[in-house]
Amino acid sequence: MVVNSVHWFRKGLRLHDNPALQEALDGADTVRCVYVLDPWFAGSANVGFNRWRFLLESLENLDTSLRQLNSRLFVIRGQPTDVFPRLFKEWNVTRMTFEYDSEPYGKERDAAIIKMARNFGVETRVKNSHTLYNLDRIIEMNNSSPPLSFKRFQALVQRLELPKRPLPTVTAEQMDSCPTPIAHNHNELYSVPSLEELGFKTAGQDQAVWKGGETEALHRLNRHTEKEWMASYERPRINACSLMASPSGLSPFLRFGCLSCRTLYYKLRDLYMKANKQITPPLSLFTQLLWREFFYTAATRNPTFDRMTGNPVCLQIPWDKNPEALAKWAEGRTGFPWIDAVMTQLRQEGWIHHLARHAVACFLTRGDLWISWESGMKVFEEMLLDADWSVNAGSWMWLSCSSFFQQFFHCYCPVGFARRIDPSGNYIRRYIPKLKDYPNRYIHEPWNAPESVQRACNCMVGVDYPKPMVRHAETSRLNIERMKQVYQQFSQYKGLSLLATVPIIQEEAETDTSVPAASRNQTCSNDAMESSISSVLSHRKRERPAELQCSHSYIQPKLQCSGLDKHPHRSQQQQQ
């Protein structure tokens, strides 16, 4: 029987460590690698210029790599549900393969495609390689619910075997045994579109700081010395240099799958063991990868993960709706140079350091503007190269203290924090050129500079550069009270301690066997609080009727879905 394979690229835009692609090649007579592109996306506000450019560069790179193996990438315009039936017939497809997508929308879309494929007699093979581990396994190990704290997650991961070893890159020999039929007019029909074709104006755009593609990813991976790697993966002490886009930064490549997370994992592991006489590396070496894994795990069974209303793991916080304030934040016009510089770097380059993310997220939500984290999430979705659905939503919930049992007392001051990280002010001068003449003393708070200084710097606050949009002392005072109000309802703790308003996670205390049994019971002095928390946590697992979808039953459920407008593209299956 003739086997005609189609490998469907969605994420996983690479030829190394690609088990699904290997399945496509296995014993096949022909193989075609396909990417389905919905041109409608380009018009949607939620995927910005840098993300498109990165994606298209990655696709071009795939095409180039495949060409070297006498194959090509087939970029098909349209929607998967429309595109595949046509291709199945045209190409006589008997097998389709793709990398497992753990996100809820992805799973739904894929289930429909698999069913449809079956009707065409097409066998589907799906392999997991976007995450280090099998996420469902982790969830099962935790009593069928995703771990709610990172420490708990780490404890579970520690009990697993090592992730699967990455597979080698597809070779020419492999491809030779299952060639790709390439038509003369391949370029007309199936080439990677250009940015212009998608409706973007490229004239006047800067060179991309982050160049997409597997080749670039592997180049970054292999180029640096051990010392540099270890230095960057050990406790990252922030300094002004860290804020700049690093030539060894890998997060966008992991997101698009240009780099396999398992390849990175083993590279780190091997480097560590080489440098440390073959001792097993501590889990902390992989912290960044594990955070990514944590959010994927938390999101995979929760289609409401990216919303507040109706999301069982998200606190219902009375955020303010203020489109004007949101626009100022998103466009870097808050009047706080640190915030504006970060948002400018984000818009221009598509990547910002994680501490910069914390600062602007805190500013938007619980720190100053009291605007919903969902709004911030959407802005990041548009501009941030490494933001995908699970990680972006999870991070925003974490940073706004909407979930995951975070203490909310620490608030990043838009001036003070900036002074610690960027004492010279060079980061600000680079991204806000208007302020470049300001002396270090005033660069983080130009409104405090005397008029004479402002005039000398050719930048008057209120004219050339905005006045600060809020008084941080005032807003932080109000907001800490708001957070306390929310948490006191949730935990029913009405005492004086600010720290105790955030309930302790009972599960953490019970599972670690390294702590002697007797002390395990001394976790929290407040028995009543513990029982209310565990009942709240168990409550979360129960199905609740739609209108009562809110945190718990102790307070009168007065919050009902206000029908937040869903993004139009959500109903289209979002692939990237």
Binding site: W370, Q407, G416, A473, R477, L499, V515, Q522
Partner: protein
């Protein structure tokens, strides 16, 4: 499904009737099960039974149930179900949350105003919502409210309501209730005359008054409250209202023991360094009178503005520094705050706080909770601190980035070492590094 009305009271057939004759059973229809024969009419359940059940239901469910039959509707309006109400006033343009339905509000005002005892208003950042709250307040004329809370959930919208409108609405409740025991009016334009009205009508019953950030109140205004309301147990205000006279008034013989005193220290103008001081003797008088009093201080000052504080012994129990606080200040706290129970520091400078922390661990023997964000502490210093506090530390929250590994401990070891001294599993707080 009704199989025919069976009177609830006639459970037993076959007992002799009062006139001695044995009643004949009516022939039963064949095929009916026991449960079907005993079907009660849900509509005839006694009121108190329905009431009990209704108390478990949300307002929404209760409201739906009230349209089922007349009896259930009657139960819905029993005063007991209307003692506690939270009015939520939100505009779609400014909030994601729903508002209490205007019809329901009307119903409450018409039929249940006199039943309301524990009332709160939650408003969003729109001035309209705060105004709506004031309108409702003005109509609660025949009320016997005990607890009143005006809560702005986002921006302080009560401050944008015209002061006269606000004050007159509030006064309606102050005058009519006559048994107010608990009032929360933070971030509102309440003024001295309104407080006088409050005191004139509720001095015997007032137990709790929270009025942080009410700029129209003067020290004299709040002093009037302390002088007259001898049952006052909890008070929250801004530092500029605090005075020696106030503390002495709260410690007078006639006054009950004060339980909570919350003080917000905010600078009105940036760089304000002048804050009036409170005499040590006044603090001592307070603590003598109310030995168990909790004194909570929230500081929202810049590092330079702290000079006037903690120069001598201060009986504060809960301290929160909402912005940066200097190393020197933390040193002073170790010296002068023996009653300290909780310390939360939002941010500090770039030098390690080892010494200051260890001193606090030593001298503040009542310390059970500490939170540190954006500071620096070496791991050894931190372990030393934890050793000094031991198991009394029930809350220890420190950002992972704060700890600096040194020769004695790295990040892996610190977690086991600290857990050992605390007698429970402990981790630093983490932030996503993605």
């Amino acid at each position: 499904m009704k199989r025919g009305r069976v009177n609830v009271t006639s459970k037993c057939h076959g007992f002799a009737s009062t006139d001695g004759r044995i009643k004949r059973h009516k022939p039963r229809p064949l095929g009916l099960s026991l449960s079907q024969r005993l079907v009660k009419d849900w509509g005839n359940l006694p009121h108190h039974v329905v009431l009990q059940i209704f108390q478990y239901l949300s307002l929404v469910d209760r409201a739906k149930a009230s349209s089922v039959c007349r009896r259930w509707n009657e139960v819905f309006h029993i005063p007991d179900l209307w003692r506690r109400f939270e009015f939520e006033l939100n505009q779609p343009a400014t909030s994601y949350l729903k508002s209490t339905h205007p019809d329901l509000i009307q119903q409450i005002i018409k039929r249940h105003a006199q039943h309301l005892q524990y009332v709160s208003f939650k408003v969003d950042s729109c001035t309209e919502s705060a105004e709506a709250a004031c309108n409702i307040l003005s109509q609660l004329v025949n009320c016997t409210i005990k607890t009143l809370g005006l809560i702005s959930t986002a921006r302080p919208s009560f401050m944008h309501v015209s002061q006269s409108h606000f004050v007159s609405a509030l006064t309606v409740v102050f005058v009519n209730s006559k048994s107010l025991s608990s009032i929360k009016i933070d971030d509102t334009p309440v003024d001295d005359p309104s407080l006088k009205v409050l005191v004139a009508n509720n001095s015997d019953t007032l137990k709790l008054l929270k009025m942080s950030s009410c700029p129209h109140v003067s020290p004299a205004g709040i002093l009037c409250v302390a002088d007259q309301c001898h049952g006052l147990r909890e008070l929250a205000l801004n530092y500029h209202l605090l005075s020696d006279e106030l503390l002495l008034a709260l410690s007078s013989e006639k006054h009950v023991h004060l339980e909570h005193l919350r003080i917000d220290v905010v600078s009105d103008t940036p760089g304000q360094t002048h804050f009036h001081s409170i005499k040590r003797t006044s603090w001592e008088a307070l603590v003598r009178h109310s030995p168990k009093v909790n004194i909570v201080m929230y500081f929202y000052l810049e590092a330079e503005e702290f000079e006037p504080f903690f120069c001598e012994e201060t009986p504060v129990t809960h301290l929160y520094f909402g912005r940066a606080v200097s190393k020197a200040m933390l040193g002073r706290i170790g010296l002068y705050c023996p009653r300290l129970v909780e310390l939360v520091v939002c941010a500090n400078g770039l030098q390690p706080l080892d010494e200051e922390l260890i001193r606090i661990g030593e001298r503040c023997q009542n310390l059970t909770a500490i939170g540190l964000g954006e500071c620096e502490v070496t791991c050894s210093g931190f372990v030393e601190f934890v050793k000094k506090c031991g198991k009394r530390l029930t809350q220890l929250s420190i950002m992972e980035e704060v700890l600096i590994p040194d020769n004695s401990y790295n990040m892996e070891q610190i977690h086991t070492e600290v857990s050992k001294h605390l007698g429970r599993l402990w981790f630093p707080d983490m932030m996503p590094t993605w």
